[in-house]
């Protein structure tokens, strides 16, 4: 028995057994396995003996012997599992609650911080759950797939949600196991003629199997035939309400501009959130009918374009998808032989559609990439709040240490202490969660308004699923925040804590705490810089000289008004300084382009265009560098163009005067340059100035640009409206100021500023709370030192300086880290998407840093100055 002092059996199997059955009840059994182990040690290797030991314990664990002892033990002493746990739980809850109430200051700081961090988390989670829930109402969801198109042109790969139109026929004819195929065309945007005007609708040309495959409920009409005949029309409830008032729409006819007469065959109930987005459906057969009647082509038999057609298939349950994909790709190679890049088809489950970002999406796109960024941002806000909690708890360990020491001495095990602290944190995180849910409800409408189609994309309702997610999230946050302190406290040595040695918390912990503060403040500073940068960019864009005069210009939609009558009638008004006409509004996204060739054989170049009349150049104060304006003559077909400087560069024309008289091929016409205008921003500021020309064709004019004299705008507009009644009594007067239209394009800046502002606000509040807690703790523990210093003659300001010094150093470090990072991030990354941009300047950085310092100095100062003012007698008396 020489060596069994050194070699011992492994401990964990015994523990396992002891956990299952009280070790006292199984004493003799454990003794037996031990004895066998030491016996075995003398006959075999220690490893083998250990292995046998484990085996023996396990054989006991599942034996009748242990089972019976466990049962007897329980009958004798009562079960220890549930009820004992319950009493302990109760006690932890009580102690936890008392602690939260006693240390109110820290509790409030923690709850405010955590709930703010959680609010963003809840927002991100609710958005995520919403994306998960898209199309959940579809009963065939698991069996519906969509054919998608992968296109690789050598430079980049793209995946389109759409396919070529003939794919659906191919699928129908060639594959088995397919229950239904639905073909879509997404270009159904009818302008319904209603009374004097038109009502625009959007929707799809859809196969008659649509209502079989998808779960959309018809309130009226027969789902089997609603989409079978050409020119049939199914409307959603809301769309029907728009068009019919108090009339049963079924069987009624509607005129669609440029298409024909449609018959309403169904009214559809409003549907829950789906990736399909439509308010009107017409039959797929309408496409063929329209081709015939109007001599238009949609590409129904064309393999080439993959823009507007979509194919959905409903497979038989359990059918393998891969055979369909392989079969499809095998049978289409011939169609794409001459294609520029490689084309292949894939299959996507309908339940995955909302979670991907494909090009050419049929309806809603959720921008999952943006959502991921949002989740990361939420985490960036939440984590500091959790760190704060850990930081504060551990800092206060001195106060709690005695309690824990006493608990341990009177029999509390580390696991009990651990549980107690976790419980305390959970209690707090649940309170925080409640606050966070309240904040979430307050801000969710704002969030929806910032997202395109926000209320359709995210309902952000708290239902069962989000509720469960929220609670789990709250508990997880609690555990995350409480884990570190709980481990720390459960490991405390009772003897040391009771002996009152304050050596707990070594250097490394202090350093971690400092870095946490630095990280938090650096992050806050970057957010604040974001606000400053975006506001600067916004003001820059607002005041940018676009190269034309936009003040006091009212763009009036011409509709059916006669141009000459408009000119004379409006020109009569005293408030109208000038009237010109154009086909579109400069500086907006709604600009058209065309392809232009020089007479010499060569490549076409894309050129943006606008049709104007002869007054336009004057009215918008554009500068002619050479040549002249369009002449004031009777229109006899297009002859001339006015080009911009960029156009000259693109066609290698050195000077404006040299360009005059040059001829170009535009839409099959030969047009000559009559004049050259100075470059101006015909596109939004985000884009650079491209080749552009003005063309002259009265038929294309859609807007009248009325320059108003400054005065009472409201009254002037009323006068204009009165004038409009005379010219065009059947249509509504619709007009907007050019300046407003231009500024509308800047809304994205406001949204960005709001996002940065909101996140920055949360980040800085959380950081300051953390800082405040640290300062309070630090000053409390140094209060005697301050007393002594004061007695020795230190002044209040000296004391405040001594107390604040180390914190100010941390903020400085944070600034040094955040400024270059933030500068790089905003200057190089965010603002790169704008062509005309204001560089990030020293001003914004200085303002942000000043703001950060102001906030942190206020935080630090409130405490340190108070402590510095304390009468030394107060704090030294009890020593």
């Amino acid at each position: 028995m020489g060596n069994h002092n050194k070699v011992n059996p492994p401990k964990w199997p015994q523990r396992l057994l002891g956990w299952y059955c009280d070790p006292l009840a199984a004493e003799d059994l454990l003794g037996d396995v031990d004895e066998i182990f030491y016996y075995n040690l003398e006959h075999m290797s220690a490893r083998k003996a250990r292995w046998k030991y484990v085996w023996q314990v396990f054989s006991l664990l599942f034996s009748k012997a242990v089972r019976k002892r466990r049962k007897e033990h329980r009958e004798k002493y009562g079960s220890e599992g549930f009820f004992k746990g319950f009493y302990l739980f109760n006690s932890y809850l009580k102690v936890g609650f008392r602690n939260l109430v006693r240390y109110r200051f820290y509790t409030i700081i923690n709850i405010v911080g955590l709930s703010m961090g959680m609010t963003v988390g809840l927002l991100a989670l609710a958005a995520y759950v919403d994306v998960e829930e898209v199309d959940d109402f579809q009963t065939n969801l698991d069996n519906i797939y969509r054919v998608i198109t992968h296109y690789d042109d050598g430079d980049r790969k793209r995946t389109y949600a759409s396919t070529s139109a003939p794919v659906s026929d191919l699928v129908k004819e060639q594959f088995t196991g397919i229950e239904q195929v639905v073909s879509f065309n997404s270009s159904f945007n009818p302008e319904i003629v209603l009374g004097k005007g038109t009502v625009p609708l959007f929707g799809y040309y859809a196969d008659q199997s649509f209502f079989d495959v998808f779960t959309f409920e018809l309130l009226a009409g027969d789902p089997a035939t609603a989409l079978s005949d050409p020119y049939s029309l199914v409307l959603t409830e809301k769309a029907a309400e728009k068009l019919f008032y108090n009339v049963d729409p079924i069987g009624k006819t509607l005129e669609v501009q440029d298409a024909g007469i449609f018959t309403v065959t169904g009214i559809m109930k409003e549907y829950p959130r789906s990736h399909l987005l439509f308010e009107a459906l017409t039959s797929y057969s309408t496409l063929a009918a329209l081709e015939k009647a109007n001599d238009r082509t949609f590409g129904l038999n064309d393999w080439g374009p993959v823009t507007n057609f979509y194919t959905y298939v409903q497979l038989a349950p359990g059918k393998d998808v891969s055979s369909l994909v392989n079969g499809l790709n095998a049978s289409i190679t011939a169609q794409f032989e001459g294609a520029r890049g490689s084309v292949s088809f894939g299959i996507q489950a309908m339940s995955d559609i909302a979670k991907t970002d494909h090009s050419n999406e049929i309806g809603m796109g959720w921008g999952t990439a943006a959502l991921a960024v949002f989740l990361v941002l939420a985490l960036l806000i939440l984590l500091p709040a959790c760190f704060n909690y850990a930081n504060i708890s551990i800092s206060r360990s001195l106060k709690r240490a005695k309690e824990i020491g006493l608990r341990k001495v009177s029999g509390g095990q580390s696991s009990h202490i651990f549980l107690q602290f976790i419980m305390e944190t959970l209690l707090m995180s649940i309170v925080s969660l409640l606050v966070a849910v309240y904040l979430f409800v307050l801000i969710r409408a704002e969030f929806q308004s910032m997202v395109v189609q926000g209320s359709r994309a995210f309902d952000l309702e708290i239902n069962f699923q989000t509720g469960v997610t929220f609670v789990l999230f709250g508990l997880l946050t609690g555990i995350l925040a409480g884990l570190l302190p709980a481990i720390y406290f459960s490991k405390l040595n009772p003897i040391e804590t009771l002996r009152n040695s304050s050596a707990s918390g070594g250097l490394s912990k202090v350093r971690v705490k400092k870095w946490l503060i630095v990280t938090q403040f650096a992050l806050s500073l970057i957010f604040i810089m974001g606000v400053a940068v975006v506001i600067k960019q916004y003001r820059y864009a607002l005041n940018y000289d676009m190269g034309f005069a936009y003040e006091q210009v009212l763009d009036v939609e011409l509709k059916d008004a006669d141009q000459d009558v408009f000119r004379t009638e409006f020109g009569k008004l005293a408030e109208v300084e000038n009237v010109s006409m154009s086909s579109s509004i400069p500086g907006s996204w709604e600009s058209t382009s065309t392809w232009v060739k020089t007479e010499v054989k060569g490549d076409s170049v894309e050129v943006y265009q606008m049709f104007i009349d002869e007054h336009y150049i004057d009215n918008l104060e554009l500068t002619l560098l050479a040549g002249e304006n369009f002449p004031q003559t009777v229109f006899k077909g297009e002859q001339h163009i006015l080009v911009n400087e960029e156009f000259l560069k693109n066609f290698n024309l050195a000077t404006p005067s040299e360009a005059l008289g040059q001829a170009f091929l535009v839409n099959g016409m030969e047009l000559t340059i009559l004049g050259v205008v100075k470059d101006f921003n015909h596109l939004p500021l985000r884009e650079r100035i491209s080749s552009f020309f003005f063309r002259y064709n009265p038929e294309r004019l859609a807007f009248a640009n009325v320059k108003l004299a400054s005065g009472d705008i409201q009254e002037t507009i009323e006068q204009l409206e009165g004038q409009w009644e005379l010219i065009s009594p059947t249509t509504k007067f619709e007009a907007s100021f050019l300046e407003d239209d231009l500024n509308e394009g800047l809304v994205s800046f406001i949204v960005m500023a709001k996002v940065f502002g909101f996140l920055g606000l949360l980040a800085i509040i959380i950081s300051c709370l953390g800082l405040l807690a640290m300062v309070v703790f630090n000053t409390e523990s140094r209060i005697k030192e301050m007393g002594v210093r004061k007695v020795m003659g230190a002044s209040v300001s000296q004391l405040a300086y001594i107390l604040s010094r180390s914190f100010i150093k941390l903020i400085l470090i944070a600034t040094l880290i955040a400024v270059p990072l933030g500068y790089f991030f905003f200057d190089q990354v965010i603002l790169r998407i704008h062509h005309f941009r204001a560089a990030v300047g020293a001003g914004e950085i200085l303002i942000s840093v000043a703001f950060l310092f102001l906030m942190s100095l206020i935080t630090i100062g409130t405490r340190t100055i108070k402590v510095a003012h304390v009468n030394p007698v107060e704090c030294l008396r009890d020593e």
Partner: protein, 113 residues
């Protein structure tokens, strides 16, 4: 006859009887393993012992603590009268069966293959 005795149970009962005052878990296990050259797990052995105790064939008591068991006490076993009776009954049954089967059970080692 009260309770059926299985083969392994009989083995355990007889071993406990044979070991006398020194019959506890490990000694029973080792004795059986030596005599039968089969490996038995301590769990299986104690399950059988528990079952025998339930049937009232053995009784047990805790002995003093010993060094090599980490201070844990041994549980000793002893046959009860019931146990002894059961063993006797099974032996009688066996003897009777042997007597009946004598002629056919003789093994002929004489003939080489």
């Amino acid at each position: 006859m009260k309770g059926f005795i299985g083969e392994f149970e009989e083995l355990v009962l007889l071993t406990i009887a044979g070991l006398g005052d020194d019959a506890y878990g490990v000694s029973v296990k080792q004795d059986i393993e030596q005599r039968t050259t089969r490996k038995i797990s301590i769990g299986a052995l104690h399950s059988t012992i528990t079952r025998l105790e339930e049937k009232g064939f053995i009784k047990s008591w805790l002995g003093g603590s010993t060094q090599e068991r980490g201070g844990r006490r041994k549980r000793y076993f002893e046959l009860t009268t019931n146990g002894k009776e059961a063993l006797h009954a099974i032996k009688e049954l066996r003897d009777e069966l042997w007597k009946n089967a004598q002629a056919k059970l003789s093994i002929d080692y004489g003939k080489p293959q």
